[in-house]
Symmetry: D2
């Protein structure tokens, strides 16, 4: 567990290696957070949930960090107004890095002398929590860089954003009763628990994701201009936000280009599409005369599917499984309180930690968001 802890913490820091101090600061929109906040908040989790509880007479690294780097955890004092994270310049990057070092040392020392189940379980939650924030750190940073007119390069050799389908077949699944939800001793979040049966109809699911070329067909067929393909709320979103392409796409001199971590480049038609909202995913499927899979359909064929380095929008709302139980205390605020008005995404993306990916994982976002590495898989 110590090793896993150290690897995770180092991974977060490695993601920040190409950053300059300036890049750690901005919060470009209220739903994204500054890198400095991600690296402090993931540290705060270990201090607040573990060190304060398991280390006797633990003295907090700094009196105000508990307040500053809290997220939604209403249980623990008043929290910084979420939209204000980009204005907190002090503590600076080096102080936050010292905070990391301090907490890392304390956690390692604690694990050296204490292996009780409850502690190990919380460490594992903390590791998984940090892995989630690694992905958000990347997507939030891409939002900041992608809206800078100079289109900064994060890493000019970065190639992970462009992936390709390896297959072109459809997979058939038969009607019947299936089991859903996590089982076994491995880690999972509380929202995956409560393994239960569902009844599914026959369906055919694509063993490939929609590509940029596919989506350009939709655009060129007037997809963004025809309300027939859109949910009412999606059509309002298209018109109010004046959306006419996936996020980060720009039509320059008659040619589609997109911002990537390696800079601005021509859209690769063969690469798998990303940065679309649920509204766009649903409209695309409607235009094709197909639909998105439910989270249950996805899960039961997951072992046969080629995952495409995208979070795949499903047609399932993010709601509790039967017998879902909220854990007591602040850790329990983690998942249950978001179970409204969001859609489930399955799979994993280029930003997802390798061991963080499993078929029962339930990612979730509001249907309007494009800034995750989201993609589209069809069912017919």
């Amino acid at each position: 567990m110590i090793e896993k802890y150290i690897l995770t913490r180092k991974k977060t820091e490695a993601l920040c290696a190409p950053l300059r101090i300036e890049d750690y600061i901005p919060q470009p929109v209220d739903f994204a957070s500054p890198p400095k906040w991600h690296i402090a908040h993931t540290t705060w989790f270990f201090e607040e949930m573990i060190l304060k509880r398991f280390v006797s007479d633990y003295k907090p690294f700094h009196a105000q960090y508990s307040f500053l780097f809290n997220s939604y955890y209403n249980t623990i004092g008043e929290r910084t107004f979420r939209a204000n994270r980009g204005n907190i310049t002090r503590p600076g990057v080096s102080e936050v890095m010292n905070y990391r070092k301090h907490v890392d040392a304390e956690i390692q020392s604690l694990l050296g002398s204490n292996q009780e189940d409850e502690l190990i379980k919380l460490i594992e939650i903390g590791i998984n929590h940090e892995q989630q924030h690694q992905e958000l750190l990347l997507t939030d940073l891409k939002f900041t860089f992608g809206h800078n007119p100079v289109f900064p390069v994060y890493d000019k050799t970065f190639k992970l954003e462009e992936v390709y389908n390896a297959n072109s077949n459809w997979i058939h699944s038969k009607e019947g009763v299936y089991e859903i939800g996590h089982q076994g001793p491995d880690f999972c979040f509380d929202n995956e628990l409560g393994r239960h049966k569902v009844y599914l109809q026959d369906f055919e699911i694509a063993n490939f994701l929609v590509t940029n070329a596919d989506f350009i067909d939709f655009i060129e067929a007037g997809g963004y201009k025809n309300f027939n393909y859109w949910l009412d709320e999606g059509w309002a979103w298209v018109n109010e936000q004046q959306v006419d392409a996936p996020l980060y796409w720009h039509k320059i001199d008659g040619e589609w280009q997109y911002y990537t971590f390696a800079g601005l480049k021509k859209v690769d038609p063969k690469a798998v599409l990303t940065h679309v909202s649920y509204y766009e995913a649903n409209a695309y499927a409607t235009w094709k005369g197909m639909r998105l899979p439910t989270e249950f359909e996805w899960e039961v064929v997951a072992d046969s599917l080629d995952w495409g380095q995208r979070w795949e929008w499903t047609n399932s709302a993010y709601l509790p499984y039967p017998n879902f139980k909220i854990a007591a205390g602040a850790v329990g605020e983690y998942n249950g309180k978001f179970m409204i008005s969001q859609m489930v995404l399955k799979g994993a993306s280029l930003g997802t930690a390798v061991n963080h990916s499993r078929k029962t994982y339930r990612n979730f976002f509001h249907p309007k968001y494009q800034w995750q590495f989201s993609g589209i898989r069809l069912v017919k």
Copy 2:
């Protein structure tokens, strides 16, 4: 069918009998509509969807009504901006009543000479559409009256708002495969079709609804002040809207009163609660250590349940059934396009037409709305 048509049309007009001309005009909030608009729009449906198609050389009653009284039907020309309905004073009430008479005569004449299936089916949709608007007419009017400081009386003998539980038992349902969705030749909306199997776990469902006394307990226990009971989005709603009671409740001289169609009166503790949002329903259930039923659970025990003259919030998002198909053309815009970010309600309320009520019916609203006659049934 003619008789059913006439009865429905007369029912709408009867609901308007206590109104003065002034009352037909206001649109108090963007999600409610003026009575004049409801009576015109339900008429528009028959003219636009039926007369223009089945009566050769049909001459529209008025060139601009197709535009003025359209609702979401993007297929048929530009629509009046929804939030503006309360500013359209002309055509006046008498002109709109003439429009009704004209269309009624034309429909009756048409039905006298044509009984083709497609026509009958559309008439039936029109009747059901009008029945839905009868309920909205009532709830929207209550919103206007209920926000007038003089609290106008609609009908001082009106007693339907206060209903009482007849039972206090819990009903047990066993784990297994169940069938969901409409079957048989009777009318239903497209969103109820595609009868299919679901797998349900064991559950116990209340054969009674939460009462005003129950909910006052929640209020007095600090329910509106403790984030632990609330979904994150619900907690934001409580704080931004400064909600501290169901809609139309006022604490006057230390006593809860509510606005009803019969005027302002003391809250009856034994009566069944109404005018709560999904957020409040969910928070109440959480506070009780229980939960809301899913739409499937509700439907499979519906024949055993005592329905309580309330639309009961379920814990199911309003999404398509497997094999849901959108009808071609404007009629197809009816239901499918709203399948996002809304929750399903089951049952029927005092405002629901008698034959409009059936166990497969899927009503749906955004979780923030209190203005429908909504109520709470618990599952444990």
Copy 3:
């Protein structure tokens, strides 16, 4: 004074003669009010400010009217939230008319037995207050009708909106000290008092107003598309509100038309322009290489000017004259509290009562508003 009172009251009712009951209700935007509110509020003024004070044991006509028909008068109880006036359907039009009759009878009876100065002064304020609301009643009604896609006709013989310049000369005024402000025994508002000297430079002022043809030249020269002519705040207004013409103008089949009380008709190029904001007035003047007059310049040449049935935007902010004193009590809230962020308009419009017009009158509105009968006079 009784006669003047009666004439004023009858004039208000005459303005409402072409209205149907429906037209009395809507408040199309927060800065406009429903006709019913205007006729009730002007009556409220006499009841609240006069009858309650001068009639011993006066019994209010209705307990809640003091609250319902208050405007900004914070001194007298809580006021109805201003944006909500259009939702108050009860009391109805006939009850409000009865309220008028009741108050009229009481005022006449009071004036028959009491002629004390303080009373006469308040009656005169009430008359002038009602005359101001006569104009607002017209402009607010035009806003409601002018945004109805059926463009209702208020009076098909209505001709006052189109007026023409009688002169084309410029008037020269010489540098020197001038006196400003009301003098003499006639009625004026508190903001006109405190007659004082100002020093003015030489200027030349047009003895005519900008016409529709003049303004079409501005539009065709790209006036709405060139930021150079606009104040920064005005340029933001043009872009956010997507303004490209005066209010009520529509380009239909390549031709400018405008809504008038007589219905939609072709723009008359020779008629004097109206329904422009201060931003537009200022931009037009800048485009012409000229400027707007100050309120002082306007006042000192007022006796020589041909007034053009328009409220003329001046380049003066609405601020207190030296020695301005706020009257004690609720009447004192009348003018002084609005002395910020508004510009002065001089003159009189078709909606202004004849005896309401004088050269010292200071009308005032926020620079963004187009809905008054505003016009442009230039200075060079």
Copy 4:
């Protein structure tokens, strides 16, 4: 002129000496800008307005800086959306500092070989422009620091914010004609030109500013809770923004404290008040039964007044002087386009460059802003 240029540029850099790189980035509200933007934008002015014009074949330092560091100058290409300045992390602080060095060297080289009037005049405008931004840099930085819960110290020896009245007398000014506006060869902005006469009444003006103790009296007398003292727009501001004290004031354990550049400290009752809006200044004056001076009154007694290191709100709207002329081209956008909806402030503050202060100077802000070093002087 070279020396003045160098001193000004060094002063800006000296103000940034206590900053860490993180502090250069945030834009806490849309009306404030990041330090990095201020130091880049003032440099941009010299490059765009001077080097590009006077240096033949001048090669811009960076192709995109003209776009990135533009402010309101619509003449020069599309500008960065103003509210987005805090998200532009690249170019970084060191690149922007290199930009400064490059432009400084070019300007010095240019001035070594060219002394033409037009150039010198533009250099002087550029210096004054930079001095204005020095003050904004400080006030914007204070806004960022002052909203950080850890209340960062900019300079713990910083003492300039607390100043004291040296006098307590009132100065009398006699009725008559006075001259207003700049004269002489020294630099001034275009809005100070057009020296002209005004006629002023008798008045008495305080030779001291309102102190913190004075303002605490207002607060304790319920000043923020009584609409009678407030302009209508100010009263709305108090209620919507929930204002109950000057900016940066916090009541902690029953005691007023305020954030200063030296950190959080107790409010010094004898120090001169700062960080109030025009609404608060006007309300305070009304409560005292006095008023604010006009900009003309202030200017004619300026030589006798003790200036109190505050920008003093006047009761004059920021409007053009007679014969005001807008300079051709982008430089002309500097002042004239803001002449609406703002109030004039006279004097100088701790943030004002020494030679930047003169009695004809017309500073201006919207009446709602508190973040400048604004104060109150009374007239009776």
